[in-house]
């Protein structure tokens, strides 16, 4: 049974179509990254999944309809919208009291354990904390909830690299246990490369790319082509080509590694490189065509 199952999910705001028929099936234990440019519909998809907006089409999260059963669903789903949603007037101890009061699956001791490792004082108000500390607080609250699905919308937006790295490290070591499912959207794809198990690109409200990270690593190869091999390399039908410091860098989908090694230096591309290759392509759905 999938944790999230969507069929023909659609959402329009007036004449703007934010989600244009998305099919989605996320199994338990996956860490799915939903990557897309600004305005692609990422946040709208997440909002539909956590029951913040009504939608058309079919959507079940842990067997619940998120729009009609948000409060019940939230016992098993946790959600970090972005760094700036904790109420500024709230004290840290009040946040702990409140979540412990309303959430049946919250382990207060666990949250305090996380907070003890930070410099956050329990009497501090949220408005007095730095952006990074607010994220730590939110992470402490969320990780102390024994939830089945964690939804993260740009969780590290505006944080410096130390906090960003710490955020994902903490999540993986102290939270993720292969029975939980994590769905994350972000612009900062570099940090996610070794975190994700699955990858999805979204553009103009549609899923334009969908594959597991294992498949990603075996299928896609990036080659810095030797200058004299460029025409030979192009004959292997790269899906994307770019230039960096005078070198041609070609991205291939499902081309034999040994053939590519003959024309240049081969490595696994970054998610960002593939993202540009897929989204930069006007067809938008070329990953099937180039096979």
């Amino acid at each position: 049974m999938p944790v999230i199952e969507a069929r023909g999910l659609r959402k329009a705001f007036g004449k703007t179509i934010a989600i244009d028929g998305i099919d989605l099936c996320v199994q338990e234990g996956r860490i799915l990254g939903l990557i897309g440019p600004n305005g692609a519909g990422k946040t709208t998809v997440l909002n539909a999944i956590v029951g913040l907006i009504p939608y058309e089409g079919q959507l079940k999260v842990l067997g619940h309809d998120p729009w009609t059963e948000r409060d019940r669903l939230m016992r098993n789903v946790t959600f970090i919208a972005d760094v700036a949603v904790l109420p500024p007037w709230m004290r840290v101890c009040q946040a702990l009291d409140y979540v412990a009061g309303v959430h049946p699956r919250f382990d207060r001791g666990k949250a305090q354990g996380f907070l003890a490792k930070t410099e956050i004082g329990s009497a501090s108000r949220v408005r007095e904390l730095s952006k990074g500390m607010v994220t730590q607080l939110q992470l402490a609250l969320v990780m102390a909830i024994d939830a089945r699905l964690l939804v993260l919308d740009e969780p590290t937006l505006g944080l410096d690299i130390l906090y960003r790295k710490q955020f994902y490290d903490t999540l993986l070591t102290d939270y993720y246990d292969r029975t939980r499912t994590i769905l994350v959207t972000t612009h900062q794809v570099e940090e996610l490369q070794h975190v994700l198990t699955d990858l999805m690109f979204i553009n103009h409200g549609r899923i334009v790319f969908d594959c597991s990270m294992e498949a990603f690593e075996s299928r896609y190869l990036e080659v810095t082509v030797h200058p004299d091999c460029i025409s030979a390399a192009r004959e292997l039908r790269p899906m994307h080509e770019r230039q960096l410091l005078g070198r041609n860098i070609l991205l291939f989908d499902s081309v034999d590694r040994e053939k590519l090694a003959a024309v240049g230096d081969v490595r696994t591309p970054s998610i960002a490189d593939l993202f540009i290759a897929v989204l930069g392509n006007p067809a938008g759905r070329s990953q099937g065509a180039t096979r």
Partner: protein
């Protein structure tokens, strides 16, 4: 709207993610507490006003012995008349505070959480919109009147004790004071008056303000008052009458409630004031008002459900 899938087996719900049982009132209790954390004016405003008034009253006690000596020849009614005024003012201040704090609380209740984006945090927790909005409606209708009544009663008690100390120090008796201003009875009257006249009777106004605060994207006070002014203006022009303005104004200051409920003056020190809950509970105006309040609160709940940060 989404179509429901009936193919999803129920066993999945019962299996791994069966929700832990939690008392239904617990989220409501914590939601009310969080309102008090966020809106400290609910108790700080009446406390501040009470403290300022008491300072003035304590200073005025200097003149009390002379005043009582001058009165000693007069009868009990004149005695009460001469000393009751500050107690009426204290009660009146608590009534005004109740209405003012309620109005500003309601205008911000569902607006503030959208403005500071914290609505996303509240909605990430297993608390329904109904519980949240209900907790907010309980504040002006129950919690704030209780707080101001208790503070008003405490003011009266402090005033009586301080007066007694001053009178005893001047060699005067205190029995007439406590007989003319019976503290326990005054406190009950004040509680009854504030809950009926300044909480239940104006409830539709509070409901309307909450609805506007769930809907408006800015300038909640303007959006709340402009329609009222517009309707009143149209009525005045078209029919040369002021029924709507009287209706709303009467709800807000509790004027028409006083007519329907308590004959005579409504200040708690007046011995003529007697509680007639039967008349109040039997008045159609109360129940129509509460029905309108329920409709406003329900509409506010619907708006909050689809509402997001601004």
């Amino acid at each position: 709207m989404n179509t429901r899938s009936n193919t999803m087996p129920e066993t999945f719900v019962r299996g791994g993610i069966a929700p832990l049982v939690m008392s239904a009132t617990r989220p409501l209790y914590w939601s009310v507490r969080r309102e008090l954390w966020e809106n400290r004016s609910i108790y700080l405003a009446p406390l501040g006003i009470a403290a300022a008034f008491l300072v003035g009253f304590l200073i005025s006690l200097i003149h009390l012995p002379a005043k009582i000596r001058a009165l000693s020849a007069l009868g009990p009614a004149d005695y009460r008349h001469a000393i009751a005024t500050p107690y009426d003012i204290a009660a009146g201040l608590m009534m005004i505070t109740t209405v003012l704090v309620s109005v500003f609380y309601c205008l911000d209740a569902l607006y503030g959480e959208r403005r500071d984006r914290s609505i996303l945090f509240w909605k990430s927790l297993p608390v329904s919109d109904r519980t949240t909005v209900l907790a907010k409606a309980i504040i002006p209708i129950l919690i704030l009147p209780l707080i101001t009544s208790v503070i008003g009663a405490a003011m009266h008690l402090i005033m009586l004790i301080a007066s007694s100390v001053v009178l005893l120090g001047s060699g005067l008796g205190v029995a007439p004071l406590w007989a003319q201003l019976p503290w326990f009875q005054m406190s009950l009257l004040l509680l009854y008056h504030i809950i009926t006249v300044h909480a239940l009777w104006p409830a539709p106004v509070y409901g309307w303000l909450m609805l506007v605060s769930a809907w408006a994207r800015r300038a909640t006070f303007l959006w709340a008052s402009l329609p009222v002014i517009a309707v009143a203006g149209v009525e005045a022009l078209a029919f040369h009458s002021v029924h709507f303005a009287e209706l709303v104004g009467g709800r807000l200051i509790g004027a028409s409630a006083a007519d329907e409920r308590t004959p005579g003056y409504m200040f708690p020190t007046n011995p003529m004031t007697h509680i007639t809950p039967g008349t109040f509970l039997g008045s159609p105006g109360l129940w129509i008002g509460l029905a309108v309040t329920a409709a406003f609160v329900a509409a506010a709940t619907r708006l909050r459900r689809s509402g997001g940060p601004m």
